[in-house]
């Protein structure tokens, strides 16, 4: 008789997909939280760019490039990033959009990044590119996952790519044999093997940030707005991003809280 698996069939499916592809895409777990996030962004953008209220949310996001120049983009992005991260419930809603998927992959005693990152990719902008990289190469712990949430539909060059685990094994062998002087050469090496992520607003992507990933110049006619935030099991090893300064525990369970505070009685 086959042994029962301790994970549910849905958790098992998620885990297997994640291990095989290096990522999963699912419909968000809470549309209410996703709407909360998108509405907050749109109201901040409207205020900042002094836009009229009769433009739809999706148009405001997709056509941001019509209202902001590439040279002003980073200041604008930082302003919105700082304002949205001051919203007390922002991280709560961010967690809700992916909670069951995060828990299936990383467990339920989680540490969450303290500030959610914001990426805005205007068409033809080469100033906001993230060349091929693995976060672990830059000091992140391989125990972290990235929850990537698009505020618009992302496709073709308006999205990101990732190198699947099988291809990554081949890539690791190649780079250990020959020296590649810059990221462009590394990208050329994996260009035909990477998977371009097609994802719509209403869905969430969770990926293994230890795999090489990145983006290229957005050649579509729309602006990309996406958010990303790291999660990990609280009690797994930390890399350069530490507990307290970068991560904080968000879902400690009762017995962990008790255990952390437990003192053996002083017996005579």
């Amino acid at each position: 008789m086959a042994k029962k698996n301790f994970l549910t069939s849905e958790e098992l499916k998620l885990s297997n997909n994640f291990k095989k592809d290096g990522f999963i895409i699912r419909d968000v777990a809470s549309s209410k939280s996703l709407n909360w996030i998108q509405s907050k962004f749109v109201s901040l953008i409207k205020k900042e760019l002094k836009l009229s209220s009769n433009i739809s949310n999706i148009d405001i996001l997709n056509f941001t490039h019509k209202k902001i120049s590439i040279s002003n983009l980073n200041n604008f992005r930082l302003k919105i990033y700082n304002l949205i991260n001051k919203e007390p419930d922002y991280r709560y809603h961010y967690f809700q959009v992916a909670k069951p998927f995060i828990e299936a992959i990383a467990g339920n005693e989680l540490a969450m990044q303290k500030k959610v990152n914001l990426s805005i990719q205007l068409p033809k902008d080469d100033s906001s590119l993230l060349a091929v990289h693995s976060d672990v190469w830059a000091g992140d712990s391989p125990f972290e996952i990235v929850v990537w949430l698009p505020l618009v539909n992302c496709f073709k060059t308006k999205t990101m790519y990732i190198l699947p685990p099988k291809k990554n094994k081949i890539f690791n062998k190649k780079v250990s044999k020959k020296k590649y002087s810059d990221n462009e050469k590394v990208y050329r090496l994996i260009k035909h093997d990477v998977k371009w992520i097609k994802i719509n607003y209403g869905q969430v992507l969770i990926f293994d940030q230890s795999l090489p990933h990145g983006n290229i110049v957005n050649k579509e006619k729309e602006t990309r707005w996406s958010l990303n935030c790291r999660f990990k099991n609280t009690f797994t090893p930390y890399g350069d991003k530490k507990i307290g300064e970068f991560f904080e525990p968000i879902t400690l369970r009762a017995i962990s809280e008790i255990g952390l505070r437990y003192k053996l009685p002083k017996m005579k």
Binding site: K114, P142, G239, I243, P249, E257, R261
Partner: protein, 132 residues
């Protein structure tokens, strides 16, 4: 603008070390961002487990709105001593800021959050720690 005093370390803490001028740069930058009026830093004694300077600061907060420390991990490692200091600050309705972690304490909820971070950090050496 809130008037606060800096607090930095002259010894390593939890295997971390930051030069004093670097601690001050981080504090100054944080104060600028948070619109805090920063009045120099007091330096903790180098002797192991000494928190005399911190106690002195906490006991003389009348003319200040609070303290900004470089890191939350400069608080006493002893759970009771740490909690007593934090409670004193809350009782006086003052704020303790931590520049590196961008954390702040002024309520009992903040105390719980900071205590959890401390307790997890303390137990980490007993958890899986090698990446490879």
């Amino acid at each position: 603008m809130k008037k606060i005093k800096g607090y930095i370390f002259s010894r390593p803490f939890l295997d971390e070390r930051a030069p004093q001028h670097v601690q001050n740069i981080v504090i100054r930058d944080y104060c600028k961002k948070e619109n805090l009026h920063y009045g120099l830093s007091a330096v903790e004694y180098a002797m192991k487990n000494s928190y005399k300077t911190l106690h002195q600061l906490v006991n003389n907060l009348k003319s200040l709105d609070g303290i900004v420390a470089y890191s939350v991990f400069q608080l006493p490692s002893d759970d009771l001593e740490r909690k007593n200091i934090l409670k004193k600050i809350i009782k006086q309705k003052k704020t303790l800021f931590f520049a590196l972690e961008e954390l702040r304490l002024s309520t009992n909820d903040d105390l719980k959050k900071i205590d959890n971070i401390w307790l997890v950090r303390k137990i980490l050496p007993n958890c899986l720690k090698e990446i490879n």
